[in-house]
Subunit: 337 residues, 2 copies
DNA sequence: CTGAAAGCGCTTACAG
DNA sequence: CTGAAAGCGCTTACAG
């Protein structure tokens, strides 16, 4: 590795001067500047960011992204938005998949602290991680919560109005004439899951419909869980419609329906929280609450960058609109005319 | 930030001892060990990896992943496989999307050098990056090429047999009775694209079919390009079948077909290089050459790790099998019986 | 405008 | 078994 002192030697100056030139500091004569730049390029010199970070204690240019699953199209789009934003600011993303596993999440939070990340974006699995996040924040790392807030841990966050989205999705089903509406929801330790369930219940209540506990299926946000829940509910107590509150579970519903020989929407209507890429080309083009995932990523980057430079500013909780995209998977129970 | 010397002070030992305990070196008395561990945990101490890297010049635990688009399901699955592998080895992934832009690729290659990444996995856009990769390698960074080799730059690589896959896809169409088979292929600066085109041509030739330049559409590997190419070919010279050589272009074909009112496979048969997630739930369940993306990620991690520890070993070029998954998007032109 | 020197948080021979 | 000291590649007051 060629280092600053190699460059200094070749240019016949001190390492301090090399630093000044490379950092574009004022008060350096043009002739030295030229010599240093020439030497650096001849040597193919690349500054060592790790050393730089160590010495200047300046905020590093790396940020951590801790999500459950980058394969989920929502997170894939989010990371694109985030990356487009941070690239402008010359920052780098360290990618951490937790796979919804607590030990993996814990490992990564610690690791981000060890790597002296300037900031961390995290979609926390459960409140269990709160103590670790507190330690992380105490160490000077900026934190932004993705899609999920944590009670008792005030923090910047970015997401959508989960309650409103779920309400809109469920109401859509009700307006179409469905009454027996099941929901596949996330486990209760996630605030997001609780809010989506709340929206579902409120929509039923506001329509004067009964809330049937049979129809509230609480599972992991995975395709397998969505599949299993669908199979079970159809064996035990078939609904007319399903509000699936996550795109992974939605895939599970679709798979289960196919296996059960159920047509969507003829035999069961389906609305999803979270859209799917190329959803319009599905056998039953999916009606969905479409989170602006890319935009969430951009905003997350913006919030994080602000927090890095303004550690004491008041926290902000940003919610982006999440429209209902009507395609055909909900059909209608209503007669026309 | 609490540092090693804070821990040393509290435990009443030297920083050298702290290092030894934390690194689990032998020859430390149990009593000191206990005191150090206790002090470290009380202080909530986290080692500074950047300082560690600087001092020991040991290989860092971070590797760079430079791909065109993490939203592409192939890369999303690949990164999962890679991450599952490197997590075992306590390494971290720095994610870099090039968006097929040369300047962005250049920026990231340089950045990985500055970050002193132990290794870099890259899906190179074109041979233009070769000089930068050479510099990166000279600086001691291990490199593994993803899905693509570069002529004149011998290097470890992992991918599939593109020629064979394209041959199988095209032959499948031929066996089904199609004769007027168009292909949507990538631009020629990518070896991968050339190999897929070669497979297509060989399949036609081996079947005694003419190779019609009209039917060879060379475009970017994007949905827009696939869409535009499909619209154009149907206006000018409609084929019976299309071999789309990338999953993004495949999406473009599907979109164009929908817009043109063309049913798949009735009006045009379609086979894709690269599968799509939940392809079986599409209106026309997609027949595709399915790359083992997750497994490619795992193998990429393995290759990289080996290279990091064995800089002078001979290069290896690994090709994984990439089976044809027959669904229904190809239909058949043949009468039965 | 420029350089000598200290120090960021670590690790690792070198002594003892 | 343990500590004092040097040094990784940088940056930044401090002099001049």
């Amino acid at each position: 590795m060629v280092s600053r002192s190699d460059v200094a030697k070749r240019a016949g100056v001190s390492t301090a001067t090399v630093s000044r030139v490379l950092a574009n500091k004022p008060h350096v004569s043009q002739s030295l500047k030229d010599r240093v730049l020439k030497a650096a390029s001849e040597l193919g010199y690349r500054p060592d960011n790790t050393a730089r970070r160590l010495r200047s204690q300046s905020t590093s240019q790396v940020i951590g992204l801790i999500v459950s699953d980058i394969q989920n199209p929502h997170f894939a789009a989010l990371v694109r938005g985030l990356e487009d934003y941070v690239f402008q600011h010359e920052m780098n993303i360290m990618l951490c998949n937790t796979d919804e596993k607590l030990d993996r999440e814990a490992f990564y939070i610690e690791r981000m602290q060890s790597e002296r990340a300037a900031g961390v974006l995290i979609n926390p699995i459960s409140p269990n991680s709160t103590p670790m996040l507190e330690a992380l924040r105490r160490s000077g790392t900026a934190i932004v919560l993705l899609d999920n807030e944590i009670e008792g841990f005030p923090c910047d966050s970015i997401g959508v109005d989960d309650r409103a989205g779920a309400y809109a999705a469920t109401s859509h089903l009700i307006q179409l004439g469905y009454r027996r509406i099941a929901t596949i929801g996330g486990l209760h330790h996630q605030l997001t899951a609780r809010k989506r369930q709340q929206g579902y219940k409120e929509a039923l209540r506001d329509a004067g419909l009964p809330i049937d506990d049979w129809f509230i299926l609480l599972t992991d946000y995975t395709e397998e869980a969505g599949y299993a829940a669908t199979i079970r509910i159809f064996r035990e107590n078939p609904p007319e419609a399903i509000f699936s509150s996550n795109n992974s579970t939605t895939l599970g519903v679709i798979r289960a329906a196919a296996e059960l020989g159920l047509r969507i929407p003829d035999d069961v209507a389906l609305v999803s929280f979270d859209d799917l890429p190329y959803a319009e080309f599905l056998q039953s083009p999916l009606t969905a609450i479409a989170q602006p995932s890319y935009q969430i990523g951009v905003e997350a980057g913006r919030l994080l960058e602000f927090r890095i430079h303004n550690p004491t500013a008041p926290y902000r909780n940003v919610e982006l609109p999440s429209p209902l995209i009507v395609r055909t998977s909900c059909g209608s129970k209503l007669r026309i005319g």
